[in-house]
């Protein structure tokens, strides 16, 4: 089997591209039996010689998220040449909140950075809106792969569904844990979060309260360039601000967390994958997350709290005050479970799913 993953180069989705495309390519190649390629959208819609060579060789084309206008046209061209097509959806792009980074692209057709093929003039928009084009385009896909069961429910009407959860590439998490004697670093990556989520989930107020009550706590705010921590009533001494790290440095940043946070709110969060919590688990970091379907399967490996300031505060204080015990616990079953979610361990399942689509009569 030869699989080509077609992905965007937009900076805002590179983490997802890593998880949904690059990691799978790495795993498939490592099997030695199958081949996998990566192809960016720009080459694909321009039908460059590189794209032609790769796609002609492939049995299966997997498009990550961006199914619209020029992508649909090229996919039709390859379907005419007997290629099977899977659309990979790992975000509820049809339910994005207005403050989301990609809301305007999906719902208003405002081009995103690295939005290839949309050769439109300044100020113009993609019409019809990409979300509508996605719905239309899904009907010509042979299957839709999704990262959560809720997404499976959403898109089952359009095509066959493959549930491919977020897997980790453990090779990327081989890093040494950092310790902070006398301090407890509560880490939060702002990727995919908005100020509204932090406020409405109650996490912001809870963090303020915990920092007031426990002076050894430091809020390790990762991605301060994406989302400012200025709105939090926490002393400067207790805030450690870091710009968003690159994909390669993220595991080292993660290794500095003593406690990880996984807040989630809204329709999109209901359908999100479990990657954030899984990363904490593989790094043996005790974590607290919102009590949503995304994390419910992992509830015995962490703390799930209702989205209220009181619940978050209680959860945080509990873990802060008994950190040693929770860290010991995090090094046990949660870590073992995370190891089992290595993409290389699960590639056979993924390939079996692909084969069921390829050889479906």
């Amino acid at each position: 089997m030869i699989v080509t993953y077609i992905h965007s180069n937009s900076p805002s989705v590179q983490k997802c591209v890593q998880t949904r495309c690059r990691n799978l390519v790495s795993a498939i190649r490592r099997t030695g039996w199958h081949k996998a390629h990566l192809l960016d959208l720009g080459n694909f819609v321009s039908n460059t010689s590189k794209a032609q060579e790769i796609c002609a060789e492939s049995d299966l084309l997997v498009v990550h998220r961006f199914l619209y206008g020029p992508v649909i046209r090229m996919l039709q061209s390859w379907k005419a040449r007997d290629k099977k097509v899977i659309i990979d959806i790992d975000e509820a792009v049809d339910r994005l909140p207005p403050e989301s980074e990609s809301y305007r692209f999906w719902n208003e057709g405002v081009p995103m950075q690295e939005c290839p093929g949309a050769t439109i003039d300044e100020g113009q928009t993609i019409d019809p809106a990409p979300i509508e084009q996605l719905r239309l385009g899904l009907r010509l896909a042979d299957a839709v792969s999704v990262s959560s069961t809720r997404l499976a429910d959403d898109w089952a009407a359009y095509s066959n569904i493959l549930h491919i959860p977020d897997y980790l590439n453990l090779d990327q998490y081989l890093t040494v844990k950092q310790f902070h004697p006398g301090e407890i670093w509560i880490g939060l990556s702002t990727e995919g979060l908005s100020a509204a989520v932090l406020e409405e989930s109650g996490l912001a107020r809870a963090l303020e309260a915990v920092c007031r009550q426990r002076k050894q706590v430091r809020l390790y705010w990762v991605g301060a360039d994406r989302l400012s921590a200025d709105g939090l009533d926490i002393s400067v001494r207790q805030k450690i601000l870091l710009p968003a790290p690159g994909l390669e440095t993220w595991p080292r940043v993660l290794a500095a967390f003593d406690i990880g946070l996984a807040p989630a709110l809204g329709e999109t969060a209901l359908r999100a994958g479990w990657q954030r919590a899984l990363e904490y688990m593989v790094m043996k970091v005790p974590w607290i997350g919102s009590d949503l379907p995304s994390y419910r399967e992992l509830s015995r490996f962490g703390w799930l709290v209702h989205n209220s300031a009181e619940a978050w505060e209680r959860g945080l204080l509990e873990v802060v005050d008994h950190l040693d015990a929770y860290q010991a616990e995090a090094a046990g079953e949660p870590f073992l479970f995370a190891l089992g979610q290595d993409v290389h361990e699960n590639v056979a399942k993924i390939l079996a799913g692909y084969a069921s689509i390829l050889y479906r009569s």
Binding site: I72, R73, Q76, A80, D82, P128, L136, R139, A157, S361
Partner: protein, 555 residues
């Protein structure tokens, strides 16, 4: 002949199938259909007339007479039937009429006669065969008897088989009887006398044109599908074909004169008129090929702004081009007639397809639902496919069908606005496919099981090409279409619907009956073969030869 107007949709479709088979010379299938019609509808006049005609053609005038007389009992005033009866009576002689003309055995015998299988076995042969069989079976040494009568057995083989066939039928073993019958037919074939007349030696093939042809195009980098097929067909016929956007006097000086020039829609690029003038001055015959009725192109047509005659420059260029042309070629008989009446020398050169594109012969994946499809958008190679206003004609009918049959899906190709006309349908019941380049169009067609081609009754539509139906035919897709001249002339592979009721009846029938779909699809495929590019190129070569004759002059 006056035919019985039947409101029974199933009967109507069966008759269309029967006519289709006759047109394709599939006598066995046609006879099966008409015999079946008469078994179910014994008073159907059309079927009686066809059967009578077939018996007459087979030389069985007595049976033909009995069939015609039956027809006259139903319609005593039918002049055509009376004439046929007179003809049959004048040929009457020898043999008995079939007791039941629609009986399977009678139909078999009719088919044998029509297809030239003259293996009728005489009563004397049968008697002799029976005696021989009796002798062998009751002989103390059957092998010896066989050896002695080997030559006689050889001569009587068909009769011996006939005895066994009748015994098998009497024993209720139709399968055995069929097998023996097939053996009998083979033996008949082998026993045919050698051809009576010697076949005269084939005449030496005449020299065909295979000179140089200049295809003059508004945009040589993007030739239309029609031109691309022409290029391919002519190249296959041995012509040297060049595509260009212009022809200059310099080419004359350099000796690069083509034998013939074909200018495609030259009015789109008014500067092409200079090329036409240069060609004319160089005495190169010029054909102007028009792939659309530009004179009646509606303002709402997607190509009107680039190709319509609304622009004074294009209108002047159009008129000038027609005047400069030695001949005009068009892709629709109606358009040819219209231009002919305006005094132009016009030839109908139909649209086609190319088997070089393997997507035409690729079989699509099987699917569980029946896809009813409509193709919108522009593109000259689509023969002027429908616009949203055309689809509006049948929107309610299509919705009715989709509601009635849950296993159907609507597929709209190339026009998102048209797709949105069906927003009341669940998204699982409809699909939108964007248009693709011409070479991938067969893939899109392969997503359909039934093609609908509704067209408004307007001058532009009446001059459209039959290309959508030809293309559907290549893919074996049955169609229901509006009664424009080109579609009625093409006929093969589908049903022409004039009223909303007919649209509903035919769509319903096609959805319900897979066999009808398959039969019509096959008929369309057969008919489409003659529109393959290599076949069409012969017509063009003929035209070039005509243009190049010294006596030819038109300007």
């Amino acid at each position: 002949m006056q035919s019985t107007i039947s409101t029974n949709p199933e009967l109507k479709v069966r008759k269309i199938m029967g006519r289709t088979y006759l047109n394709q010379s599939k006598l066995e299938e046609a006879l099966e259909v008409y015999a079946g019609i008469l078994r179910d509808f014994p008073d159907d006049l059309d079927a009686l007339i066809v059967l009578g005609n077939l018996y007459l053609a087979a030389g069985d005038s007595r049976t033909a007479c009995s069939v015609y007389r039956r027809a006259l009992e139903i319609d005593p005033q039918n002049v055509a039937v009376s004439r046929q009866l007179e003809l049959a009576e004048s040929e009457e002689g020898g043999g008995l009429a079939e007791k039941v003309p629609t009986d399977p055995a009678a139909i078999r015998r009719l088919l044998q006669r029509l297809t030239g299988k003259t293996g009728s076995i005489s009563d004397a042969d049968l008697h002799q065969a029976a005696e021989l069989l009796e002798l062998i079976l009751h002989s103390p040494n059957p092998a010896e008897q066989v050896a002695i009568h080997l030559e006689e057995i050889d001569d009587l083989l068909p009769a011996l088989l006939e005895l066994n066939i009748r015994q098998a039928e009497a024993d209720g073993r139709p399968d055995l009887a069929d097998g023996l019958r097939a053996l009998q037919d083979n033996i008949h074939l082998q026993m045919q006398p050698a051809a009576a007349a010697a076949i005269p030696p084939a005449a030496a093939p005449r020299e065909r044109f295979h000179g140089s042809v200049l295809l003059l195009l508004p945009d040589p980098a993007h030739p239309s599908e029609r031109i691309r097929l022409l290029q391919e067909g002519l190249a296959g016929a041995g012509c040297a074909v060049t595509l260009s956007g212009e022809f200059t006097i310099q080419a004359v000086r350099d000796g690069e004169l083509p034998h013939v020039a074909v200018a495609s829609n030259p009015h789109i690029q008014p500067r092409m008129l200079e090329s036409l003038a240069a060609l004319t001055a160089a005495n190169v015959p010029v054909l102007v090929d028009l792939d659309t009725d530009f004179e009646h192109m509606p303002v709402t047509h997607p190509d009107y702004s680039t190709a319509g005659l609304g622009s004074p420059a294009r209108a002047r260029a159009y008129t000038a081009a027609l005047l400069l042309a030695n001949a005009v070629t068009v892709n629709s008989a109606m358009l040819a007639e219209s231009l002919r009446q305006a005094g132009h020398n016009v030839y109908f050169m139909p649209d086609g397809w190319s088997n070089q594109n393997l997507l035409w012969t690729r079989t699509p994946q099987a699917r569980s639902s029946i896809h009813i499809g409509w193709i919108g958008g522009s593109g000259a190679w689509l023969g002027g496919a429908g616009q949203i206003e055309d689809l509006m004609l049948v929107r309610r009918t299509v919705l009715r069908i989709l509601r009635e049959f849950p296993h159907t899906q609507l597929v709209v190709i190339g026009d998102l606005q048209a797709y949105r006309l069906f927003d009341s349908l669940a998204e699982t019941r409809r699909m939108y496919l964007p248009m693709v380049p011409a070479e991938e169009f067969p893939y899109l067609l392969g997503q359909l099981d039934i093609l609908i081609v509704p067209l408004r009754n307007q001058p532009y539509a009446s001059s459209l090409s039959d290309l959508p139906l030809v293309q559907a035919g290549v893919k074996g897709i049955p169609w229901v279409a509006s009664p424009i001249t080109a579609f009625k002339n093409w006929q093969a592979g589908g049903l022409v619907a004039d009223t909303p009721e007919e649209w509903h009846l035919y769509l319903r029938q096609l959805v319900l009956d897979a066999e009808t779909r398959a039969g019509l699809g096959q008929a369309g495929q057969q008919a489409a073969l003659k529109r393959e590019a290599s076949n069409l190129s012969q017509g063009w070569v003929d035209l070039f030869e005509q243009l190049l004759q010294p006596s030819f002059s038109i300007r």
